[in-house]
C-alpha cells in the first residue's frame, strides 16, 4: 500500500493510522514524546505544590480566595466534551468519511477556542481584581507557569488541527494524512489528561484550602 494511493470504502484499511512504516514510526515517536511531556508537566505540578500559597504578605490572595467553581466547571466540561468530539473524528476516519472527520475536528477546534477564551478571561480577572500576577509572588509564578503551559498546549493543538484541516482540505483522506490526524487527536486527548490533574490539584484542592 502506498501513502498517496487513492482509496475506496472497500480498500481502506482497518487501522489506517498504523498502515505504513512512516505511520508506525510516527505513532511510536509520538508516544515517546508524550512520555516526556508527562515528566515536564509533573515537574511543573511539583513546583506548584511546593510553592502553593507562598506569598510575601498577608494582603495577597491565596488559592481559596481566587478560584471560583462555576468557571472551572465550565472549562472542564468544555475540554472534556472536545475530547469526545475528536474521538468522533477518528471514528469517521476509520469509516473513510473525510467530510465528517473534518466537521468533528472543526467542532473540537471551536470548543478549544471557547476554553482558551475562558482561560484568558480568568487570568485577566486574577490580574485586575486580585493583583495576582506572574511576578507578584512565588505562588503566582508557579500558578501561571503550570496553567499557562497547559493553555499554550491548547493553543498549539488548535493551530495543529487548523493547519491539518486547511492543508488536507482538498486532498481527501489517504495513508499520508490519516496518521497525522490520528497523532493530533492523541495530543488533544493528552491535553485533557493534563487538565484533569489541573482541575483536581490546582482548582479543587485550592478551594478545599
Amino acid at each position: 500500500m502506498q501513502a498517496e494511493e487513492k482509496f475506496t470504502n472497500e480498500t481502506w484499511p482497518a487501522s489506517p493510522e498504523k498502515q505504513t512504516l512512516e505511520a508506525k514510526n510516527k505513532f511510536l515517536g509520538f508516544w515517546f514524546f508524550l512520555g516526556g511531556e508527562t515528566v515536564l508537566f509533573a515537574s511543573l505540578f511539583a513546583t506548584y505544590l511546593a510553592l502553593k500559597d507562598k506569598v510575601p504578605n498577608s494582603e495577597m490572595s491565596l488559592a481559596k480566595d481566587l478560584f471560583e467553581m462555576p468557571l472551572v466547571f465550565a472549562m472542564t466540561m468544555i475540554l472534556l466534551t472536545s475530547s469526545l468530539t475528536s474521538v468522533y473524528a477518528m471514528y469517521h476516519m476509520k469509516n473513510f468519511n473525510f467530510g465528517k472527520m473534518q466537521l468533528w475536528i472543526a467542532i473540537t477546534v471551536l470548543l478549544g477556542l471557547v476554553f482558551l477564551g475562558l482561560e484568558i478571561y480568568e487570568f485577566n480577572h486574577y490580574v485586575h481584581e486580585f493583583g495576582h500576577t506572574f511576578t507578584s509572588s512565588a505562588f503566582g509564578s508557579a500558578f501561571y507557569t503550570l496553567v499557562g503551559f497547559h493553555g499554550a498546549h491548547v493553543a498549539f493543538g488548535l493551530m495543529w488541527f487548523i493547519a491539518l484541516m486547511i492543508r488536507n482540505g482538498k486532498r481527501g483522506l489517504n495513508l499520508y494524512n490519516a496518521p497525522k490526524y490520528y497523532v493530533a487527536s492523541l495530543y488533544w486527548h493528552f491535553i485533557d489528561v493534563v487538565w484533569v490533574f489541573i482541575f483536581t490539584v490546582v482548582y479543587l484542592m485550592g478551594m478545599v484550602g
Binding site: 482497518a14 511510536l28 508516544w31 508524550l34 515528566v39 467553581m69 472542564t76 486527548h189 484533569v196 490533574f197
Partner: protein, 111 residues
Amino acid sequence: MTNEQLNSGNPKVDIEYRRKKNAEEMRYQIITFALMIFLTLVAFVAVGYEGFSASFAVPFILVLAFVQVAFQLYYFMHMSHKGHEAPALFLYSGVFVGFITVLAFMTVIWW
C-alpha cells in the same frame, strides 16, 4: 475491540463487519465519556459540599482523577488495543519519573 486488518477475500462482507465493529467501539467510547462526566461531577460535588472535611475530600478527588485519566488513556487514546506495549512503557516511565519528582518536591522541600 481489536482493529486488525481483516481479509476474508470478500470486501463487501468485510466492510459491513468493520462498520459494525467501529460502531460498537464508538458506543463504548460514549459510555466512557458518560463515566468521565460522572466522575467529574462527583469530584466537584465532593468539594462543593460543606459536610466533607479536607482530609477526606483531597484523597477522594485524587483517586477520581486517576480513574478518569485511566479511562482517557485506555479508551480515548486506545491504550487498551493491541500493539500499545511500547506506548505503555514510554508513558509509565514518564509517570514514574514524574511521581518521584512530585514526591521529592512535597517532602524534601519545606519553607
